[in-house]
Symmetry: C2
Subunit: 361 residues, 2 copies
């Protein structure tokens, strides 16, 4: 059996796959947006046509997260990495403190920035086992200003399945699994996500924040780093990343139209089960992560015999698979099964793994 195709199965870890119909609409908007005979790329962000996009993009996040008007939604430039600084800048009091759980590269970067701002305690970490599990049962200091966690770890392939009960406000970086499953958003004071992994293209970061969490630090703040300034400006204090926000809106509308979070959670579970079952069954592969903490978004696996990698690589490349090379911190393979990846693409990868076993097992 030979598996070849011209279709690309896009398992990229991020920027990641987006729905075909979204890409088509994005392309069309570059030529003629909203029947204005103008491109979306050359109209004022203050035009009523674009203000509608921004309003919808802010509203649909609250709808998907099922929260009320005690939350505000912002789209900011600078990526989730800028949020690593903005979160402590806006939430850690002068002479206050924050508690962080270290579950990987991105959590570590968030901790590094928080330490520049103030007293930052790492209250749990899985660094001892190269981040292949999620720490549990740790104590959360009741006097810290907030707890920061990372819901899904793109590089190491772990995911928090049960969020900790916390006596202090919880901040969550959901960059790589936002809108992939049901979460109780009301349990969080702030959720942020770089769009480019599961909700849109690179260039904008969504921040959803509970209004009453803000304005308590006593810090004199730079305008662009102040959530309250952006809230007051309706997420248009300055020119926003117009096109990335529009494409994020299209992606969220696609999700909603197809059945919303309930639909995608079920589909994502099917996709992950299909691939994890094969990783566990296939005699040539093994998973890198403790089973209870396995991510449904980023599935990391290795070959028992790394010397067979070139042959496996040829097989999946011939099948039109793209982007499953593992991150250098883990090696091997990582398949990212973001919302827009169809089940059939996972089936193609599973078929390739089976074929590979048949040939070399």
């Amino acid at each position: 059996m030979t598996i070849t195709t011209t279709k690309v199965h896009n398992f990229s870890a991020g920027p990641g796959i987006l729905p075909q119909e979204v890409l088509k609409e994005a392309a069309a908007s570059c030529l003629n947006f909203d029947n204005l005979n103008l491109s979306l790329l050359e109209i004022s962000h203050r035009s009523k046509n674009y203000e509608k996009v921004m309003d919808e993009a802010r509203a649909i996040v609250k709808e998907l997260f099922e929260v009320g008007d005690d939350y505000e939604v912002l789209y900011l430039g600078g990526g989730a990495s800028l949020q690593f600084a903005m979160v402590p800048y806006n939430l850690m009091r002068e002479n206050g403190s924050a508690a962080y759980v270290n579950t990987g590269v991105w959590a570590s970067k968030a901790i590094k920035e928080a330490k520049i701002i103030g007293n930052t305690k790492v209250i749990a970490s899985s660094e001892d086992k190269n981040f292949n599990y999620i720490p549990k049962g740790y104590d959360i200091p009741g006097d810290a200003d907030y707890l920061h966690i990372t819901s899904n770890n793109t590089i190491f392939g772990t995911q928090i399945k049960q969020f900790p009960k916390s006596p202090i406000p919880v901040v969550c970086d959901m960059s790589s699994d936002i809108f992939s499953r049901k979460v109780n958003a009301k349990d969080f004071a702030l959720i942020y996500a770089g769009a480019q992994k599961n909700m849109g293209p690179a260039g904008s970061t969504m921040v959803m924040v509970k209004k009453d969490a803000l304005g308590k630090t006593g810090r004199k703040m730079l305008s662009m780093l102040d959530y309250q300034v952006h809230i007051k400006g309706g997420s248009m204090y300055n020119t926003p990343p117009v096109f990335p926000i529009y494409v994020s809106l299209l992606t969220m509308k696609w999700l909603k139209k197809n059945g919303g979070i309930a639909w995608i959670e079920k589909l994502n579970q099917q996709k992950a089960d299909l691939l994890y079952n094969e990783i566990d069954r296939n005699s040539l592969f093994y998973g890198t992560v403790e089973k209870a903490d396995r991510s449904n978004m980023n599935l990391c696996f290795l070959l028992n015999k790394p010397e067979l990698e070139p042959e496996f690589d040829k097989l999946w490349k011939d099948a039109g698979i793209s982007g499953i090379r593992g991150h250098r911190d883990v090696g091997g393979y990582r398949a990212s099964l973001y919302n827009a990846l169809p089940l059939e693409s996972v089936q193609v990868l599973v078929d390739v793994m089976k074929e590979f076993e048949k040939r070399l097992g």
Copy 2:
């Protein structure tokens, strides 16, 4: 005579007009980038195809500005407004100072952020006449860490024609006239520009900085606000705004292909002359700015009889003109003649003004 058309003449102040061929290529990249059978919106920024885009986008700025390897080019998120904070954060020493020239709304915002960081002196201002001229002949303090100026003032329609000789490093916000005319870039320690006015779509900001200007503040810095961190990361310390940078590259390639700065400077002068001549000739209009300081990018003009605005508005709208309503701080009209606006669009506006005079003059 009736002037009607289906073509839109886009005089938007920003985000502003981009070349048609750039928009077509941008749209195509949303569907299939670089013959990968993948959208530019869903591939890794670490792919060799995108790394090439970033390398080219950084190199072409240095080529157009004719500077050498003592400068570095970055594309950052957050808009020019984030640079209002990053410039003092990176260039003003702890216990140092900076000198600012206040020529309008954006300069005022830059001053506000600098004041949060440290000792900021406004050494000249045109606020006394609602920013309708460029201050000249001011003293620049030799002990300040840098001088900050704004080359073109989008809202008030003024432009610096001769840059000040300065004993200290000069930082220039060129957001609204970058690559519109020849400047001696080597006279500047740092040039920044929000792309969305003259070099691309919204979502990325170009920063060109002389390396030896950095690393002198003594400040412990947040990573995302540290130019040196971004330089070290090749402008990919974190995921960059992929698509906006690509479209900026296309726009700069379009400029270069057509004859570069020398070509566009001449064309921009023709366009500005055509419209200013009509503003001065036409008995119904007058310009708001001192003639010596008139911007070639944003041309502000008012009706002698403001009560005639509804009739004038109908006429230009029928002619397919878009985006010439003035900013609320000036009122009346503002025509933005960015690089991609063809001479024929200016001619259409001039024809409309003549027709209006014929009817009502």
